[in-house]
Amino acid sequence: MIYDAAVIGAGIMGVSVARFLSAYSGKFCVIEKNEDVCTGTSKANSAIVHAGFDAEPGSLKAKYNLLGSLMYPQLAEELDIPFRRNGSLVVMMHEEDRPKLMELYERGIANGVEDLEIIGRERLRGLEPHISENAVAALWAPTGGIVCPFLATVALAENAADNGVDFLFGTEVNALCRVKSAVIPERKDLATEHGYLWEIDTSKGAVYARSVINAAGVMSDIYHNLVSARKIRIIPRKGEYVLLDRITGGYVERTIFQLPGKLGKGVLVSPTIHGNTLVGPTAEEQYDREAVNTTFDGISDLMEKAGDTVSGIPFREVITSFAGVRAHEVGGDFIIGEPEDAPLFYDCAGIESPGLTAAPAIGKQAAADIAEKLGLKTNPSFNGTRKGFINPLEMAPEELAELIRKNPDYGKIVCRCEGVTEGEIRDAIRRKVGAKSLDGVKRRVRAGMGRCQSGFCSPRVMDILSEELGIPVSEITKKGGYSRIIADKIKCCSGEDKR
């Protein structure tokens, strides 16, 4: 198989490229070292669709932030995922910081962000009663939004797969080189205009492609530097968060940012699209690209800082803490496009905040650029819509009764904290690009995402995974690799596995 394009990385960036590529005729694949989509930076971030006032005017961040923000409403509808423009507030605590607030406002205007306003204390506290009494003013951006990064990534991937994109999971790219297409004699027809193909050496063998899209997140500099003399450098930057129980839903309605000040960029307090409250992130540079450990200092620090802008955050309702590593490129901007010395190697690199917002816009652009370069026509059978997971407990009673009559699995609640039924879990596993692990199920349909953090439902979800995947329970993992849940059968059951 020779692909027209191979995307490295199945985060929101990679699957966005894949989804928009699938609108063109051709063979495409996504190569991912982990067992599922959305396992890196995409799974641990602020889940914000940024309005776009933050980035330097003229930067790629500014451009794609705005474009992405404008794309989200329609994309959410096409992909049947929740998205809400809840609005963002950047809160100023000291009068002497006003120039900074104005600078942010003006940057937003320059970036083309609509409906920005500077509002005073009264209006601010009218909008958000829990804002600190010491707040002076705020930048109000009604176009700021929130989205579920898991569902956005899963939905784009499912839609790409529905339109024929292959997903190669558990496949790590070790090396990349350009080879003369003549080395694959039977496929001379696929020689590019340069007469070259990319040979992608992976942990599961070679993959050939006419073009490569580098969407490898915190690893993106490694792949870029394999093929280009114009080096880039990613500094992994860790961000720690705490997530509060949905019982705190509505503590803030809008995303509350702190005005960047002497003490750094500050932390945000935001509702999530599912009604939790999210507080974070910290920002620590580190060497390890995969060090997603939380730290005592980090968590204490962000709880303290968040209290500056939002009073009385009910931290006793914290249900989990987590950390993500952001791909910060030393130049400070996204790196998008082909390096001059590596044609048909297309970077979508250094995708840190506002990456979740920008990814669909970058993906669309990257797909269009690649298609033009390769002369790909539009895919006449492309279907850009995808059906979301059914959420039975949000249905009208008659509808729900009918659904359960048709499929009783939708009446069996497995995760009591989030109200997730067996029907949803089976659907999450059975789909193309389906869940293969507890975390995969959790990210798709939220079983285990709630206040008990999978204590009650994990044994049952393991059983369902085992049935659906046709593997013994002993092989079920939390998140692929060596993350098996259980060590052994107990002595009395040492015969064959339960399933």
Binding site: F296, I319, K412, C452, S454, I486, A487, K489
Partner: protein, 434 residues
């Protein structure tokens, strides 16, 4: 049809409540259970030690549950398993309760009842609630989840185990996993005393040579995919880790037994007043919550140590619920809300963190009232006094009182008979005078 009583939960509390309500005259009783069988958490508690108070013999959890299930079926009480209650509401005027439930076999069903007993039990506090720093690999289990995996599913969660917290389930699992061939390295407890019963410390840790590290906690979890080890540090009096005391334990499993939380999401949505201390509803001497005709008992009310006391408490709640249902059924119009005045709030000093019940209305007392409470720290050589309007009506000597062991006081009916105009009930824990 309107049931006399719907019991939410078919664990030990729900079973005892339903049975007692039947004894008290209710006939239309429905027990709703979310699991596939009755018995609740008892089904996975295959160790013995249950029933010493209730049946005067030592039973395993499933045996204890079966006694009650047999009583239930013997009385012909209706129950539905695999049925999850989504919502409970109470009509302000008629006080009729509506219970909405969902199941695979019956779909979405709405039931009505004169009275409801909340018996949903509790859940375990998770790692997330503790903010233990480190990675988020496989191999971190709450003790109850591990217990389910071993005793019901037949799997060993791991081979080298560290336990954080000395709650009873964690202690039981230390023994259980050792018997299944795992090596339990240590049990770390943040507090300077154990959170579990003394007998469990002796039988589950001491007997197997498992060290109990008091005033220690897990300060880091290592391992990107599966747990590879944890760091345990000593904590000071402020319960903060003491730098320099870190010690690494190589292990593949971390069990958490760090507290149980009454599961009151339904109660909160129903509008019952919740005690910030117990995490359960505030109740009167009849175990009635702030919503008339809604009663609560067992671990949903406050976390117990012994199932026998859950059964006893729930039986009382069930009987009171039956009485309420009978009264409401007989009454043509709206019930007399005067009657539901919850009375005097019990106050306390010198040690208790809370009492259950929180309120007593002397006019409603029929039969003895048991007041249960827990202390906030280990107390030695104390006298527990019950003061009615400042007069001591009961005094009980206690050599040792510990947070891990629930205390109880039996207030006889006669105490209230002559005290209908009572203004203050106070529980005072005092140092024994020498």
């Amino acid at each position: 049809m309107i049931y006399d009583l719907i019991v939410i939960g078919g664990g030990p509390a729900g079973l005892a409540a339903a049975s007692a309500a039947h004894d008290a005259g209710s006939r239309e009783i429905l027990v709703l259970e979310r699991d596939e069988r009755l018995g609740g958490i008892l089904n996975q508690c295959i160790h013995n030690g249950f029933g010493l108070h209730t049946f005067k013999e030592e039973l395993t959890g499933p045996e204890y549950a079966q006694r009650y299930i047999d009583i239930l079926t013997g009385k012909g009480i209706e129950y539905k398993t695999d049925t999850m209650v989504l919502d409970i509401s109470s009509d302000k005027d008629t006080l009729i309760k509506t219970v909405t439930a969902v199941s695979g076999s019956d779909g979405l069903t709405v039931y009505s009842a004169y009275a409801v007993v909340l018996a949903m039990g509790c859940r375990e506090r998770s790692r997330g609630a503790l903010n233990i720093p480190g990675y988020r690999p496989a191999g971190i289990f709450s003790a109850g989840t591990a217990q389910r995996l071993v005793n019901i599913e037949g799997y060993l969660p791991g081979r080298r185990v560290v336990i954080l917290g000395s709650g009873d389930i964690g202690l039981i699992m230390a023994r259980r996993m050792t018997l299944e061939g795992a090596k339990v390295l240590a049990c770390a407890e943040l507090m300077p005393y154990s959170g579990g019963l003394k007998r469990n410390i002796v039988q589950c840790l001491d007997d197997f040579g498992i060290p109990l590290l008091l005033s220690h906690t897990v300060t880091e979890i290592r391992g990107k995919e599966r747990v590879t080890g944890v760091v345990i540090s000593e904590v000071g009096e402020d319960r903060k880790p003491i730098p320099g005391t870190e010690r690494f334990y190589e292990c593949d499993t971390l069990l958490l037994s760090v507290g149980l939380l009454p599961e009151n999401e339904l109660s909160k949505e129903l509008g019952t007043e919740i005690s910030p201390v117990t995490g359960g509803p505030v109740v009167s001497e009849s175990f009635e919550t702030s919503v008339p005709g809604v009663f609560a008992a067992g671990n949903v009310l406050h976390v117990h140590d012994l199932v026998d006391f859950v059964s006893e408490e729930a039986a009382a709640a069930g009987a009171h619920a039956a009485a309420f249902a009978a009264e409401l059924k007989d009454r043509a119009g709206a019930p007399d809300t005067e009657l539901r005045d919850r009375g005097i709030e019990i106050t306390f000093d010198g040690g208790p963190r809370y009492t259950v019940p929180q309120f007593i209305n002397p006019a409603h007392v029929s039969g003895p009232v048991k007041v249960r409470f827990r202390v906030g720290s280990v107390l030695k050589n104390r006298v527990v006094k019950v003061l009615f309007d400042g007069n001591c009506v009961l005094s009980k000597k206690r050599n040792v009182m510990a947070p891990g062991e629930m205390e109880e006081l039996l207030l006889k009916e006669e105490l209230f008979a002559g005290n209908r105009g009572l203004k203050e009930i106070r529980i005072s824990v005092e140092e024994e005078s020498v």
